[in-house]
């Protein structure tokens, strides 16, 4: 490709987040989420999930088990889809999707959702109930509606009666950041006019015991960027946004997706590239897509999981691309690491930061690691914001950076 053509294709036309919502351990809906961030509280608590005996803290959403799906959606019953259902009911998100479907047609609204473990908890529990003679799973076990990775998008499509393209992106902890990139391409190409994007991941034994086996789980509430950080705290969340082309009369407080960048580390399955090579590439691409300079970014929502190696690699990459003065924080001290939902949850937190003029502090962190040369916020900063970045990195070396901005 000739150079000038290449540059044009790398720039993207902004999209508006015409509705967005988040449900996690720090609150159901954006008002509760924002209030918790303002109060600098964590939603993490000692793990009492299911029969888990690990010495760890988790970000569990209260009341998921008490919120069964409507009878018409019973085939999708599982904790993950219950959490999705709870999330879709907040902040008028489902109503905004219905208005988009009425405006464009149900087949012109796509569904692009991220999850890492879908409804695997149902399968984990079913394996305890195998028939002692035949080994069969119990009769109530449902593979398609619960276990399969696509069940989340199939559930959302049916719950919202949409009939356009639908897909689940499952790239571990970058999943629901990457859905913004896929949805953006589908809108840009004219395949659809609007997209429900988001991520839902729920507590299960696979991730709790799995991250524990890798010795990546802290026995305390996670402390991103702390000198004594020693691992993640696992959380769960459902976060969604409706993406549309910006209309002619955009409210000054409207939030826009300005840039996306995606890359691969090509280094290791479960450890980041030590110099943050892929993270750097994703951030540079996002800046190029948004036609912004590094100094235009006013706040960074770090991936910031709280493992020694992740925060170290991210700090190197951020320092390399943006220097060490741009304020940033990881909100995982409040929410826990919500894995496949983290990208969408933190996109919503970025949208709230832009609309309400607040950079949320990283909670739990008491002594910053002097080796991490980034400007890490331990106190909220109230200020008008125009451009912010969110990073999401996952197993398999999958990286995604998003840039959001205020319209006005």
């Amino acid at each position: 490709m000739p150079g000038d053509t290449d540059v044009n294709y790398r720039r993207m036309n902004p999209l508006a987040l015409t509705s967005f919502t988040a449900t996690s351990c720090i609150g159901r809906g954006v008002a509760a989420t924002l209030a918790t961030l303002h109060e600098r509280r964590t939603g993490l608590a000692p793990c009492a999930f299911e029969t888990v005996t690990l010495d760890t803290w988790v970000g569990e959403v209260a009341g998921v088990d008490e919120a069964p799906l409507p009878a018409t959606l019973r085939e999708f019953e599982c904790r993950n889809n219950r959490l999705a259902h709870l999330g879709l009911a907040q902040d008028g998100l489902a109503e905004a999707v219905q208005r988009a479907a009425a405006r464009y047609g149900r087949e012109r609204v796509g569904v692009f959702l991220g999850t890492s473990t879908s409804g695997i908890l149902e399968t984990e529990l079913a394996y305890r109930e195998r028939d002692p003679l035949s080994g069969a799973l119990p009769a109530h076990f449902r593979y398609r509606g619960a276990h399969n990775t696509f069940s989340l998008a199939a559930f959302a499509q049916q719950a919202l009666q949409l009939s356009g393209p639908a897909v689940v992106i499952s790239c571990a902890c970058s999943s629901s950041a990457k859905v913004f990139a896929s949805a953006r391409r589908a809108i840009e190409a004219g395949l659809i006019d609007a997209a429900l994007v988001g991520g839902v991941d729920s507590l299960c034994l696979t991730t709790l015991y799995g991250f524990h086996s890798l010795q990546l789980v802290s026995s305390r509430p996670c402390r991103p960027f702390d000198v004594a950080r020693d691992g993640i705290s696992i959380g769960e969340a459902a976060a969604f946004a409706l993406l549309e082309r910006p209309g002619a009369s955009l409210d000054a407080n409207a939030v826009l997706l300005l840039g996306v960048g995606e890359s691969s580390d090509a280094h290791h399955m479960s450890a980041p590239h030590p110099q943050g090579r892929g993270a750097r590439a994703a951030m540079l691409q996002a800046l190029e897509a948004a036609a912004l300079a590094p100094q235009d970014i006013e706040y960074i929502n770090f991936h910031g999981t709280g493992t020694p190696s992740n925060d170290d690699a991210e700090a190197r990459a951020v320092t390399n691309v943006l220097g060490n003065e741009t304020p940033g924080s990881s909100t995982k001290g409040a929410t826990g690491h919500t894995l496949g939902a983290a990208g969408a949850l933190e996109a919503v937190i970025c949208a709230l930061a832009l609309q309400h003029g607040v950079m949320p502090a990283g909670v739990n962190t008491t002594e910053l690691d002097p080796a991490l040369t980034v400007h890490y916020l331990r106190d909220n900063r109230v200020t008008r914001l125009s451009r912010v970045m969110s990073n999401s990195f996952g197993f398999g070396g999958s990286n995604c950076s998003l840039i959001f901005g205020r319209a006005g």
């Binding site: 294709y9 080994g135 069969a136 076990f141 499952s170 696979t206 890359s263 399955m269 070396g397």
Partner: protein, 266 residues
Amino acid sequence: MAALAAYVEGIGLLGPGIGDWPAGARVLTGQAPWARAPTVLPAPECLPSAERRRTGTVVRLALAVGLEATARAGADPAALAAVFASSGGDGQNCHEICQVLASAERQLSPTRFHNCVHNAAAGYWSIATQATPASSALCAYDASFAAGLLEALLQVAVERTAVLLVAYDVGYPEPLHRHRPIPDAFGVALVLAPAVSAASQASVSATLTAAPADDMADGALEALRRSIPAARSLPLLAHLARRTTGRVVLDYLGGQCLAVELSACP
């Protein structure tokens, strides 16, 4: 709407009784009969030995067809964006994890855990080939091949970049097998480029349609197409093998299918 168009530059194929793309093409053009035989997966020589020991069937399958497609295209795998589409990931690994978690000890192996992510094949691919561009792993149940093709064509059309599409499925052991009875491993890979080149075999252009999906005239191949999500690619592969100009309709979601117009390159 921008045309979702691309040039097919290379094809990789592996499935029951099909060892590579030339063997598959002979079956799909009627030059050779298809005899169902267990899929034979090569060891992933391209991976460092430490990684190679950790790979299961799903990674071996995805790497084999990806490498075949890029070799036939004469493309540098390190330079390609990649889309990995699978209905279920590594079924054996998933079974082992669920068994361990149902036991008293719950001692999960770290390797089993990182291999359970849906993007495991994408991760190993990038490590093996040193590919640093974007890679995605997606799922759309039985529609996973068409969803992957759609995602790959969108990347070609919007990012103006060459993309490797790898679609693959392996089965589950019991007790999950009876709930998701995928009989054997099947993988297909396509190198899709935004501009014509000496390697171009055909141009493809896709649109959504309400028309029904094409089936395979051969009863045994039709059974294969229906039984493995990645094998829903067979009608498209048959056109590519015959080097015909025409239209093929692929299974997608519920009420809609993906229509692909093909034109063989001279």
